[in-house]
Symmetry: none
Subunit: 182 residues, 2 copies
DNA sequence: CCGATGTGTTTACTAAGCTAAACATTCTGA
DNA sequence: TCAGAATGTTTAGCTTAGTAAACACATCGG
């Protein structure tokens, strides 16, 4: 049991690029505690585990979620793709529990004129995508291109990047990020 | 935190009609432990809580599930109703976390000829339903009726019962069980 | 009326969680 | 090459989780 907890915590922490000490600091616990939990030399109390997860942040339910489903979950029905709408942009994400996955696969839809906003984003990892329909203007660092159905992109996410639909019909595309960025 | 755990455990235990000592016996822990957890005089370790929940049985994820949604979750979109297909029968259930709810509300659909199987079911509680479309043959103890759109039923579940669609078009209905039976 | 059995609570004790601090190791960058 | 800061690990201690057993209180049957 505690071994399972340790493995899971370590996997989640390392995937997010956090050190034991960093996670310990933001969650207000001793770094030794995290070390011992991960090494399964400790059966954490629920409050302690919650305190640690609060620094990620991640709920207890999410942490334990793959106990019975997410780990070996393979197929997802169209209706199951959780939709996140944000202005003229909508996301439909494969699977709900990101934290223990390496890839975040999303079906996105940009309405005409919609985009990721004025300032470029910068974060760890890599991302790529392929356009299904419509037109998508992709800006990475100082390079800008307009992609059409069948076109694709791939770049390291530490380069500032933004997306925008410059056309007058919705733009659908499939994107993938690794590690998950939100 | 520990207070939250205590309240939740007590609610679940009492809903299932278990005494502290009975739950303690089947899960192999001291009854004092359960008493103290429920009274929030103790921060249980994860393994301890898991051990207790194993006696219910209930997963950690289910236990914590309503941390962030189910407790005050009120509205559910059509697409959110989790679908369970089983032969010619499909279920769409309102909400995923049953254990801390008193009612299990399901939209069911029986394909022509489909049913709950050859042997009647018997379990604790009460259940009822109303037919939306098609025809449904309901057998309770030694009584059998065919229901049509607008018809309904209500019986104590300790009477053997089974369902079957005797028509040649799908039968849709809404059912409710209390307490949840699966 | 009073044992017998059910409930949840409190208590003394030991086993273990959690922390602060020291330790070991690796990787920088000057 | 070597200081410095990062990483994860170990250790001594104080605190607390968990147990067995006693306690207090209801309900029930004879």
């Amino acid at each position: 049991m505690d071994q399972e907890i340790g493995h899971r915590l370590k996997a989640i922490r390392t995937r997010l690029g956090l050190s034991q000490r960093h996670l310990a600091r933001v969650s207000g616990v001793a770094n030794a505690t995290i070390s011992q939990i991960e090494a399964a030399r400790l059966n954490p109390t629920v409050s302690m585990l919650k305190k640690v997860l609060d620094g990620i942040p991640m709920s207890l339910s999410e942490f334990f979620a793959d106990d019975f489903e997410a780990v070996d979950r393979i197929f997802f029905r169209a209706e199951e793709l959780t939709e996140i709408a944000d202005g003229g942009v909508s996301f439909r994400q494969v699977g709900a529990n990101l934290h223990n996955k390496a890839i975040q696969l999303i079906k996105e839809c940009y309405q005409p004129g919609a985009g990721t906003g004025r300032h470029a984003m910068t974060h760890e990892g890599e991302e790529c995508g392929i356009v299904l329909s419509g037109r998508l203007e992709v800006t990475v660092a100082d390079k800008t291109e307009v992609l059409r159905a069948g076109d694709a992109y791939y770049f390291r996410s530490d380069q500032p990047h933004l997306f925008r639909n410059p056309g007058n019909e919705p733009c659908e595309l499939i994107t993938a990020c690794s590690p998950p960025s939100f």
